[in-house]
Symmetry: C2
Subunit: 208 residues, 2 copies
């Protein structure tokens, strides 16, 4: 029996995930066969199943990897001096990802599959909880440093940032005129005004 | 041949749409048969086809009706004295609709069907353009009255309000902890700060 080289195994696994991302984004998850993924990565179907038992596990691993990448990115954000600026930079990255046709198509495919498959919904829900928790932690620390409005409920504020992220990807799907790359400035006005410490605390509740 | 009473016809048509909304929200669009809609409304399948040739036309009519209701609501908003307050009241209504399990399930079904059926996507896209146009008109008039920040690009501002609306419905689907009824105050802080005239115009571009 051939010995498995862990590094080679990880590299092949990653090549499958990368090929699958492209296929799912272009053709849709259900319209993509495992044979097409195999062809894209240059692997026999029998060999693929040493890495993933089925197509659901491939999309599940893609969701897991996106969660890991977000967590790693928040590690670097948390190390910055200005956490308000760090959050706005994160939102710039979200707009760049939304402008990437492959990434945003894949995001829609994942959302659709979460509506059909409870196991995928669970993994998407876990990523979402971790994202909101990371946002809340960043905002709370920003408030402690005087870089964000400490009168905000930071769990609610994190929820609205998450709603904005969802909304950005939804705009890409619904609104053909929406160009994420043109929206950096308005996003910074919207979130900047929401989050920055208020000179006059009485304005916080003055909605109208 | 029996003469058609237009009022009775309109009432029956509306009864079909109401029953279909409930069925689609509860079971999903594809899992609902026209026979079930007929049973819910007390009508024979043969009779149903005097109103709608197929299930796609029923969901299409539901989308059209939501567009008409939104347009009518913006007519009443536009007649208000304080248009900033009117917009925040509109967003309160969005949160109430998102808290309505039937309405939010139906919104998800419509979005999913728009992803599958270009004719539905076209009608959803038309509603979306009309909503953004109505928002932009309201914001521009608010700015002219000194009720909103005139330095904002109102097309972009309308787009971000639309993104927030999308985001609210997405939160309902993804985040089990999201309770729209608890989010009125934070929504008003977020949009209130974004839209209100700025005391110091230099803060507009100060993102960080």
């Amino acid at each position: 029996m051939r010995k498995v080289d862990p590094e080679k195994h990880a590299a092949r696994r990653q090549a499958i995930l990368d090929a699958a991302r492209t296929c799912f984004a272009r053709k849709g998850f259900h319209q993509t066969s495992t044979a097409e993924i195999c062809a894209a990565v240059g692997m026999s179907p029998g060999n693929l199943f040493h890495y993933f038992p089925n197509k659901q596990e491939i999309i599940g691993a893609i969701v897991d990897q996106e969660g890991e990448e977000t967590a790693a990115f928040f590690q670097t954000l948390g190390a910055r001096d200005d956490l308000h600026a760090a959050l706005l930079d994160f939102m710039d990255l979200v707009l760049e990802l939304a402008a990437d046709a492959e990434f945003s198509s894949l995001a829609l495919e994942i959302a659709a599959e979460a509506g059909r498959d409870p196991a995928i919904a669970m993994r998407v829900g876990r990523n979402d909880r971790e994202l909101r928790s990371a946002l809340q932690g960043l905002l709370a620390e920003a408030a402690a440093r005087g870089q964000a409005d400490a009168t905000l409920d930071m769990a609610d504020a994190a929820t609205w940032v998450a709603a904005l992220i969802d909304g950005i990807f939804s705009r890409v799907a619904v609104d053909g005129e929406f160009k994420p790359k043109n929206q950096h400035a308005t996003m910074r006005v919207l979130l900047g005004r929401f989050l920055r410490p208020q000179a006059d605390a009485s304005t916080v509740t003055a909605g109208a």
